[in-house]
Each structure stands twice: as structure tokens, then as C-alpha cells.
């Protein structure tokens, strides 16, 4: 059970949160311009890496804000938490 440091509320139990999959996948601004393959790339393709992964999380039973998390999937260590729109940490 993770202890997640919501950037708006502070440390809270994982029970209050909802995971929202891979982060930094922007919805195409002009979907009609895209080929089927390009659209499918956005729609379906997600990385599932062993190591540090950038993910979206939502404080669903709290402030309901979405934010991003860098988590090492091999040991579940949360490396960083940052707000929507912010750049992912480089390290």
C-alpha cells in the first residue's frame, strides 16, 4: 500500500487514489489529420517498462486533482511527484 504525497494535500494512503496509466501522452490537437496508424499509436500503445515509469494519478477520494508520478515499477519506489503540465524529472 503506497504512501502518496499528493501535491495539493500531502501524504495520503494509496486507498484514496486512482491510477490513470502512462503520463505525457498528449491528445492530438488535430485528430482528423492523423492516419489510422498514428491515431492507433495515441489510442492503444502504452509502454510497460521495468524501471522508472511516468504515470498519471488522481486523488479521487480527496481533492480530485490529477498529477504525475515517477515510479520504479521493479520495486514500487516513488521517485518523484509533480503537477500536471510540469516536466518530468530528468534523474
Amino acid at each position: 500500500m503506497f504512501l502518496i504525497n499528493c501535491p495539493y494535500c500531502g501524504e495520503r494512503d494509496q486507498q484514496e487514489f486512482k491510477a490513470g496509466g502512462e503520463a505525457h501522452i498528449e491528445r492530438p490537437k488535430q485528430p482528423t489529420e492523423l492516419s489510422d496508424d498514428e491515431w492507433a499509436e495515441y489510442l492503444f500503445m502504452r509502454k510497460n517498462i521495468k524501471g522508472v515509469q511516468f504515470e498519471r494519478w488522481n486523488h479521487a477520494h480527496g481533492c480530485r486533482k490529477w498529477f504525475n508520478m515517477a515510479r520504479d515499477t521493479s520495486n514500487d519506489e516513488i521517485k518523484a511527484i509533480y503537477k500536471m503540465g510540469e516536466k518530468p524529472p530528468t534523474q
Partner: protein, 1001 residues
Amino acid sequence: MTQNLRVKSSEFIDETNRISFKFDGKTYYGFKGDTLASALIANNVHLVGRSFKYHRPRGIMTSGSEEPNAIVQVNPNSNITEPNARATEIEIYEGLEASSQNCWPSVNFDIGGINNFLAPLFPAGFYYKTFMWPKSFWEKYEFFIRHSAGLGKSPNTRDPDIYDHRNIHCDVLVVGAGISGILAAKNAAKNNFKTLLLDEKNELGGSTIFEANEDNKINHNSASEWLKKEINELKNIKNLEIKTRTSVAAYHQYNYLLARENLTDHLVKKDKKNKIRQRLLKIRAKKVILATGAIERPLIFNNNDRPGIMLSSAIKKYSNFYGVACGTKNIFFTNNDSAYESALSLHNKGIKVEAIIDIRENSDAKIIKKINDAGIKIYWAHTIVDTRGYKRLSGVSIMKLSNDGTSVTGSKISISCDCLGIAGGWTPAVHLYTQSGSKLTFDEERKIFFPKTDTKEQISVGSCGGDFELNDIITNLNYKLKKFLNINKTDFEGITLENDHETSKRNIWLLPSDQTIGKTKPFVDYQNDATAKDIKLALREGFRSIEHVKRYTTTGMGTDQGKLGNMHALGIIADTAGVKMGELGTTTFRPPYTPLTFGTIVGRNVGEFFDTFRRTPMNDWHIKNKAEFENVGQWKRSWYYPKEGETMHQAVQRESKAARKSAGILDASTLGKIDIQGSDASEFLNRVYTNAWSKLAIGKCRYGLMLNEDGMVYDDGVTTRLGENHYIMTTTTGGAANVLGKLEDYLQTEWPELDVYLTSVTDHFATASLCGPNSKKILNKIIPNLDLSDDNFPHMSFKEVLIDKIKCRIMRISFTGELSYEINVPASYGEAIWQKCIEAGKEFNITPYGTETMHLLRAEKGFIIVGQDTDGTMTPIDLQMDWIVSKKKYDFIGKRSLYRSDTMKENRKQLVGLLTEDPNIVLEEGAQIVSELNQKPVEMLGHVTSSYFSPNLNKSIALAVVKDGKNMMGRKLFVPMENKNISVTVANTVFYDEKNERLNA
């Protein structure tokens, strides 16, 4: 005649408090402080159960939670009965009853014991190999296997006890209150850390508290005396909470631990009453100190499972802590020095020790000299090759070990005894450490897996950390604690320590016998009756992974999870396969460490608190009027209102007719309602719905369909424009929370530039939906001054009015195809407005109807229900709802996906109507649809999604999804059922009032 083996009074046993208890129907006596195991041993009862597979007589082996054999049924044949309880952990109380498990008719004469003689027929994988053929017989085999499987009996009535949960946050959690745990907790608390100390036993002090080795000294006192003083000081320390009888079950990530606190199991019946039995502690600790100790290993030799064969450390505890002798003629069998300490303890109390058998060549530890001085014979480099005695050990045969330890030589010596203490070394109790996700290191020299690395959040101290001698324990604890807590000094720094050193080691995982292995029974897992032979067989049959061998032989899969024998299983595999143990690794240690009752896990969340129910403000009226309810999401919705003697079918038919003929009323309060405000509200709706919203006039309503980004229908509902920048959206009852979540997601992450605010107002409003040709007249009676003409209040429009000074929002919208009005009032007036409608409607025979009638009426009109007629694979085009998809809008959620080659395929499954050839046959929802009857295999074209008998059309109707259904209008298809094939014809989805004339009737 039972024999009293109470040898010496003990400070931990209250001999003035005699307690009677029953075991297998017979009354025995013990003292306060006894466990069931110690009290039985004091009465010279060792035979307490039968083994799982071979039904071999088994006795008490240990003195703690690692016990594999002495598992009993507590309070049998009652509603508080508990199976698989460890006799070594049950504290006795007046009136306790317990019985043996896995035996019939009794533990003394067990019919199943015949399995022991048939043992050659039951090798590892017996069930897998035997019951696989003939295939069709499996169901017959299963019946018998299920009846003979399992150990105890679970209670078959409701658990009457109360359980609780508690959340605890602390700076430092210390698990285990042996010498390391006590010193760690004391120093953490003294340095202002909020500290919690837990121990599974009822007394603090671990094994040091009853230790009697005179060579182990702290500050020139015996270690136990010194520790008692330390324990005494704990009372005066602030910041320290101590919980005994509390076992940590699980250690999850981020220092989240679950522990079971046992509050009343040791109390007499009258004191248990109305008290919480067990409490689940949910602990979030900043730092965790594991001081869980070590578990003594048995030795694996032929017939090592007879009652009277026990761990050497257990014999010491029974004698020193409980004052009970486990036998009158004792032998010890060991590969290390610790058995000598147990032997000396017994000898000093006048209990006879016949001999010590040691597989080592020699040892020059101080304690060996004391044993020699006591005149106890030591057989160096010998091993036990067999044991005797069926229901109680009566003797052992020993032989000399060869130099390489793989065979025996010389002549056999026979020694009689009634108790054998076995000492195979120590296994650090690393279960919690590995549960937390940390990796173990194997020490080839000491043959132990131990936690080599500590982190900032967690350390292992004492013997669970791999330190077994007093000097190492205290020295390393001092060093680790200072670093971990970032403190300069501990209060035990500088104490003087003396202890005996172990100098000689020899480890043999499987001890040889003079008989071939095939003829021996060296048990590795006592509870599951897995022998070394089974493990070797698994390896011969090609199993290599430790996880596979475990599952094939069931080693370590009992309720004790192989706390005793797992290391030997690994060792035997490593030796046989010729690999290193460190490379082999261990099996996964899974929570819980000791079994938890379901009661503890669920706590107070039982009965009506198991899941939350949501009820509408009109709920009381529905109950008074005998509604049957159905669960929709978390809601309890009125399903139908049967009159006296009516079946569900009759009630629904009556309600459906009434709603079309005169007037009906539905409680629609459960629909999701989202208040949308902001200057970009219209643009926002444009982006989330498939149709256009910019031109919707204030005061008008519009139906909207929402897709997922993959183009599939996600939700639907009517949204009303209340003002320039203000809308109220309705969603499906079950989808409300998800829709809000999805909309918030887009607003926060994709379109943060939009000025839109969303608020869930589902619970703020109650909704009464009036429907039928007389609904206008009824509404007119309630609000006479509102002009209800089609010009002033047309279909798909909205009015805000006052009814008795209460602000109401009335929408003229329809889900039934009839003229209908949805009256929304603040929730607290819900029942009042409902009553008003019922009274005003009396002269029109207004009929309350439930969800079933609502479903039937909308099916007559071909209106979809998202989640019933759709399943996440239907596009609006598949639903034949092309009309709602805007061609002009540049973008909306899911738009691009509608033009993917796959979603544009002609022959996708599409929503159609189905009419049965015989109008009286009602199809089953979910039934498959085919076009051919004589073809095998036949292609499944689709399935029935909604099906009813329509009283208004006097025939059955159905909606279905059918491959290429759009092009099949009028085609004859079949719905094959178990006993008959039903002929159906593909039809339009709208069965009733195709021109929508009734909306303005």
C-alpha cells in the same frame, strides 16, 4: 491414568489458579499461564492429531506459532468454533474445549491410519497422476476427494463475535519483544520517537526470559535477570505503546503493516461477552525494526515425526517457562551447541537425559564440559537411523556417520526414550522482511538466508538479522540502532557481556539411514506429510524450480507455510540437483504470517455495512407501498410494486399498461446529475458529446451520447441549458461517478484552458417522473398557474417553478415515448412532491412503476440502455444512431475513432429488433443468435440484449446485436435453446409509436 509431569514451579505459571479444560471430550487440569500444549504435556498427553495424508499419529513439536502438528479445533460444534488453531498458542481458560483434527472416529483409533500402510501408493503428485483418467470420471473423483480433504471444520453459522479495525501511525514500530526488540523500543521511545512494540506472545522477553545458560551474562547477571529489569523499566517510558498477543500478519510497501491484536481469546466465556474479540491494526510506521527472532530447525531423518519428538528449544521452554517435563527419559539429537543447553536445563531440574547424539565430530564449547560433568553420554558423529513407538516415541536406533555424511557405518545402537529433542540449527524469521519486498542473502558458511542490507526505513536486529550469540546480538544492535535512529548513544552501550562460543559446525540436510531412501519416511513438511523422498521424486521427474517442487510435493503449503522444514527442502533440492542454495533462492513468503480469521479482516464491515447502499428520498414510501427493490450500482431502486397475490410478470404488465393508458410515476432520483458552469460550458459539451450544443437555447433540453476515445458508447443522458453559462447534465445511474471522473480528467489534463466547473449534484435533487396521456392534467392540478400548452412548454424544454414555495425544475422529457414530465426538487422535499403527485393523480389511477416497467416501456420505443444494449464495443453507428453524430463538429471525444477502418466495417454487430415467430415466446436475454441450425460449428451472429413481453403490443419484443444486422431486415434467424430452437425475424428497433405521436398526445 494421567501422569503429572509438572516438575518445578515457574514464575510464569500461577499455580494457585487451577483451570479445567476439555480435550477430545476428556477433562484435564492446568494452571493460569499454560497454553493448551503445555497443559497437555503436563498431563503427559503428546498424541494430539493425525497427519494430513497418511494419518500418522502426531504430537506437539514446538512451543510457538511455527507449530505444524498440534493444530486443533477450538470449541468444536459451536458457532465460535475455530479450525487449525495451534495448541502452542492457545492460552487455556476455564471451560476451554478443543479437539483433534483429521481423525475418525478418534485420534487414538483413526480409520484413515490405513493410509500410512498404503503410503507407497501415495507418492508426490498422486492426485495429478491418478485422477486424470478416464477424463469423464473427474466429477466422481472430485466428490470423494473433497470429502476427505481439509483439516479442521469451518463454522457453519454466523460468527457472533465482534471484530474491529484501528489505524495507527507511529515513528518507530518494533516487531518482536525479545531482548533485541525491548532494547530497540526502549531506546527509540527514550529518544522521543513515538514507538509501538508488538509481540505475538502474552509475555515480553522472547527466549532470553527463560534462558538458563550460566555462561551467558550481562553485567555479571544472568541474561534473563538483566532483561527482567529492563522490562520493568518500560512501564515508566512515555511515547511507548506495547501490545502483546499481537501478531504481525503482513508487511506491505511503504512500511504499511497489518497486525492482529487478540483481545479476548484467553478469557473465560463470561468475560468475552460484548467485547471486541480481535482487532486488526493497520499500522503506517516511519521506521520499522524487525526483531522477530529465529525458528529452530528440525533434523530430517527416518521416522522423525512420532509424538514425543520435539524441537530442543521447545523442550527447554516447556521446562523453564511452564515448569513441565516433556518426557521422563530424554534424548537430544543435534548439529550444534544449543541442544546441550536444553539438556542441561532438564538435568538441573532432575529430569533424566539419557544421551546426546551429535552429528559433529566434536566441540570444545564450555557447555560440552558441563554435560560431561553431568555424566550425560554424548555420541559424536552419530545419527538416528530410525525411531520406534506408534502413538508415542519409545526409542531410537543410532549409527555412526561416514566422514562425508552420506551413509552410516558400524553397528546399530538402540536407546529407549519417551522424548527426543531435535536441534538442527536456527533459521532467522525473515518472513516479514521478504514480504516488504527486500531480498535475502545466503550465507554458505552458516547455511542461512538473512537480511544483509538495511534501509533508512527498516532494519532487522537480533537473530532474525542473523546474529545468534548474545555478544553479537547486543553489539550489532547498538551499532545498528544508533545509525538507524540517528542517535549518539544507547542506554545499553558499554554493558559487559559474556557468552559461550559455538566453535564447530556440521550441517546435513537429509540424514542417512541404514535403509534405502525408498523405505524411509524422513518428513520435511510435517503438516502436509511431504517427505524427502517426495522431493527427490519431483526432481527425478524433471521439476527444477523451487516454486514448482513446492507445488508438486505441497512442501510448505500447509497452514504453517513450512516454517520448520522449508530450509531442508531447499537444501535437499540443492544437494540432489548439485546447485548452490544461494542460487536456488527461496519460495515466496506470503502474508499472513499466521492465519487470520475472516472476521478480523472484515472488522465491522459485515451485514448491512458490508457495502454501502444509497436510498432515494422517496424510499420510505416505496417500502410502505410494498415495492420490490433491485440493486443498481450502489442504489436500491424500486423494481416493481406487486399488488396482493401478483407475480412480478403480472405487476409489470399492469404497470406498463397503466403508464400508456392513463398515468404512471417513476422515482428517477438515482440518475446522475452534474452541474456544469463557466463561460466555456457550451464548448465543453461540444467536445464531450457527439452532437452539437452551441445552438441549444436557454430553457431547452437535449439528449446526448458520450463516447470513449475509442469511439465506443460510454454514457447517455439529457442535458438542460439553465442559463447562458449553466447546464445540468444527467447521466446513467451506474455511470455517474465515472462520467464525472472522465470529464474532470479531460478538463484538468487536456483542456485546462477551458473555463468550466463541474459539481456532482446527484444527491441534491429528488426526481419524480410523471408519464402518460394524463400526466399533463395531473401536473396542472399541482401547478395550476403554469401554462402547460405545447407552445409554452413543448417537448424537450424546461421550466423553473414554485410548488408551495419550493423551487422546482421541471423538464418535459420522455424515456417511455409518452407525454412526460420530470419534476426535480431539493432532495429533502422528494417524498412530499411524490405524495402530491400520487394524490393529484388518484382520479387518473396514477400507477407507480419501477425499473422493470421503465425498461419494458423504453424497449417498446427502441431506446437503448447503456450497459445493457451496449457493452463497450458498440459505436453510435452500430446502434443505428447515426443521427446523433455531428458531421460538422471538428472534434469530440471518440470522433476520430469512428473513421478507423475497423469501426467502419460493414459487418460489425449492430443493434436490431427481433420478433419471435410465436408472439408468446419471450427470448432469454443473452441467448445466442444463428442463421443455420444444421451446421457444426455454427457461427454465432450475435445475442439478445433486451427482451420483454409487451402488454401494449400483446407480443414479445426483443433488442439484439447481430452481425451485419442493418442489412438483415426481415431475415429469419434462430435462437437455439437447450430444448428448442426459436424462430425469430429481424425487425426495426422501434416497436411502438414509430412516429412519436404520443409525446404530444
